[in-house]
């Protein structure tokens, strides 16, 4: 019996070592860049990191990333000037673009359509909401004052849940020493990415919940959408009060179909500029999102870039 247990244990270790080697040989374990909080309490990627991001549940999307000196995934260094025209795209993972080749990012498409007469800075970071975005712009006021046009991506149902900026410790906890140690194993990173660990996490979660409280969970109370919409609108007003908002320069990028009419009316009445990308993205004849997740594919990014280009042209009055 002892022999059997020893044998199983030994084989187990050897399997892990062999699988770790195979994962590295076939480059399945994603390179995870490190996060940090800068001097202005803005959460970013540690500058200077390079590697390969892999997305899709079979890791079929293999994209090189480069974190610039400002802490964002871009091959541009963000150095706004008075003389040149600069455009900023501020948003979450859709703008960050770990799932897209940089040469085909939304920003690059806009630059191409202006034949490089302007530079587009993509301030994208997975998980950013409106509080993160306005706090970033407030903290780097000097830079943003030099930037000529700013487009801020907003998903009404997700991005207005906070009325002020606070550091997201849950995201930064991913930088704990334990997590950093675990990141050394490409096999573990791969297993986490493909959801292999999820059943274990879920099992532990269910067991903990069972031990803590055995009572059946009460049904969630009915959602009062109107109340939630009002709360999100109040959060928006609060964020604007706290961090400021340049109505002349800033344009919101949003999907009107997924946005509360209350909020749209508010934007119209208060002269906030916005671009509705939902109409074109949701009703396109060709797919606009990736097959394995909901981020925009190349065609989806082209639609967004075209919309921004059109808006820029009307403002800059530039000829094609």
């Amino acid at each position: 019996m002892k022999k059997l247990i020893l044998k199983i244990g030994l084989y187990g270790i050897l399997f892990v070592v062999a699988l770790e080697c195979l994962t590295r040989i076939f480059y399945l374990g994603e390179d995870k860049p490190n996060r940090f909080l800068d001097k202005n309490n803005v959460e970013k990627w540690v500058p200077g990191q390079e590697g390969y991001a892999m997305t899709g549940n079979r890791k079929q999307n293999f994209i090189k990333f480069h974190i610039n000196k400002s802490g964002y995934n871009s091959y541009h260094e963000f150095a706004p000037t008075k003389d040149k025209i600069e455009v900023a795209l501020v948003g979450d993972s859709f703008i960050e673009g770990f799932h897209q080749p940089y040469a085909r990012s939304t920003g690059r498409k806009i630059e191409d359509s202006f034949k490089q007469q302007l530079e587009v800075y993509e301030y994208g970071y997975s998980g950013y909401d409106m509080a993160d975005q306005l706090h970033l712009m407030y903290s780097y006021k000097n830079d943003f004052e030099l930037i000529d046009y700013v487009y801020i991506k907003l998903k009404f149902n997700n991005d207005l849940m906070r009325s002020k900026y606070e550091v997201s410790h849950s995201r930064l906890n991913m930088q704990s020493p334990l997590n950093n140690l675990l990141k050394k194993s490409k096999l573990l990173i791969y297993l986490t990415d493909i959801g292999f660990i999820d059943p274990i996490k879920s099992f532990i979660g269910k067991t903990n919940a069972f031990i803590r409280n055995n009572k059946p969970q009460k049904a969630a109370p009915a959602v009062d959408q109107n109340k939630i919409d009002k709360e999100y609108l109040a959060n928006f007003e609060s964020l604007v009060d706290l961090y400021g908002y340049d109505k002349e320069k800033n344009v919101l990028l949003l999907d009107v179909e997924e946005t509360s009419p209350l909020f749209i009316t508010y934007l119209k009445e208060n002269n906030y500029q916005y671009i509705d990308f939902g109409n074109k993205i949701n009703h396109s004849d060709k797919p606009t999102t990736l097959i394995y997740d909901m981020h925009w594919n190349n065609y989806g990014r082209k639609i967004i870039a075209d919309l921004i280009t059109e808006d820029l042209r009307s403002k800059m009055n530039l000829n094609k």
Binding site: M1, K3, L4, L19, L28, R58, L191, G195, F196, F203
Partner: protein, 484 residues
Amino acid sequence: MLFNSISFAIFLPVVFILYWFVLNKSLKIQNMLVLVASYFFYGLWDWRFLFLIFASTLVDYLVGIAIDNNNENLKRKKAWLWVSVIFNIGLLGFFKYYNFFADSFIDMFQLFGYNITSTWTLNIILPVGISFYTFQTMSYSLDIYYNRLKPSKDFLSFATFVAFFPQLVAGPIERATDLLGQISSKRVFSQNQIIEGLKLILWGLFKKMVIADALAPMVDDIFTNYSTYPASTLILGVTLFSFQVYGDFSGYSDIAIGTSKLFGIELMSNFKFPNFSRNVAEYWQRWHISLSTWFRHYIYIPLGGSRVSKLKSVRNICIIFLVSGFWHGANWTFIFWGAFHALAFVPVFLLGRNAIYKDSVVAENSFFPSFVEIGQLLLTFAIVTFSRIFFRSESLTDAFGYISRIGSDMSYAPYQHPLGYRMTDYFILVLLFVLYEFRMRRDERSPFKFKNKYVRFAAYTLVIFAILLFYDSGFDRSFIYFQF
């Protein structure tokens, strides 16, 4: 609880350790543990249906004793057998076939112009594994009736035999003459048997998680949208389904057999490489063997088997194939599937070629099959695969729609994977799988038969790696045969 789930990965070692290291003092305690574990295993699906298993166990336990007590009185003996048959078939009939009969009855009336509103159908859930354990308990009563077995006086052993968790929900359907004896006797801890079991579990997981689960999205897509695809895609779809259903069910059986070995119990083989069959008769000697054996023992042979006139033998063949089709599901598609196999089997039988490959494998004494054998394999595979159109389609309309589409739109268009993966990966995967199985075609119980231990280790590692590579967290991983 699914074999390919985290709960099973925790459940199995816990039961294993308790079985061999903690509660190993007596056979009764070990059996009690297995019984409790089996009820827990089943109860996680739906504890309400545990009473059905218990009822089936109790009825057949008592009927077995009653049949034996009336050995001298044939009438009463027969009457007790009917109690078992009616009870078990009644369970099946109510939970599995009631709605089918009610709907077919209504359809028949509507065919003659009578409009009946369907208020007879019931909202019943099909208890998982009911077709398997009812057949197993029925076989016990039948074996006692035919004096092949003495009834068990040990209710605990008998209940464990009925509910034995590795094979409870999808077989192999064991006969009491094989399994009950093992459950009633002391088991010996055997390191070799346990290692063999672990290897079979690993191979079964590979077949399920890599072959079956990887092919499922394509098969689902093609069968759902068959009316939009050309013949080339439809042929691809049903071919992939052939591999999917084989990987799924034989994978399940391997895990069941492997898990049983961990507890010192041997189950019968359920699959012996059916894809390498040289005719349809050989296919049925290699596919779902436990069910074929059941039908042969308890229906075909009592009907006279092949020892009656040719005409009656043909009738017997047709009966077992139709019953087999109906056993699979309460749908006309399965009855057509059975009928199609009967049609394919009868010529082989009439030509006297139904048993010629019974004790041999393809390329018996050579490395490569001959050209004739290759032709035989391809023809058999094509026949069996064609029949699967009925097996996989939701309705007869869909099945015939699928077939007529193959006939009408005979064009070629490259198929795109619904999730955007490269199709070449899957073609290579299936090809390698076929080649590997061909290599091991003589022994279905030894999937890693390599003399060199380093090669063996590399094979284990590659199989685990493939499981990780093809694992898809967003996919329903239940087994196809659970629906039966």
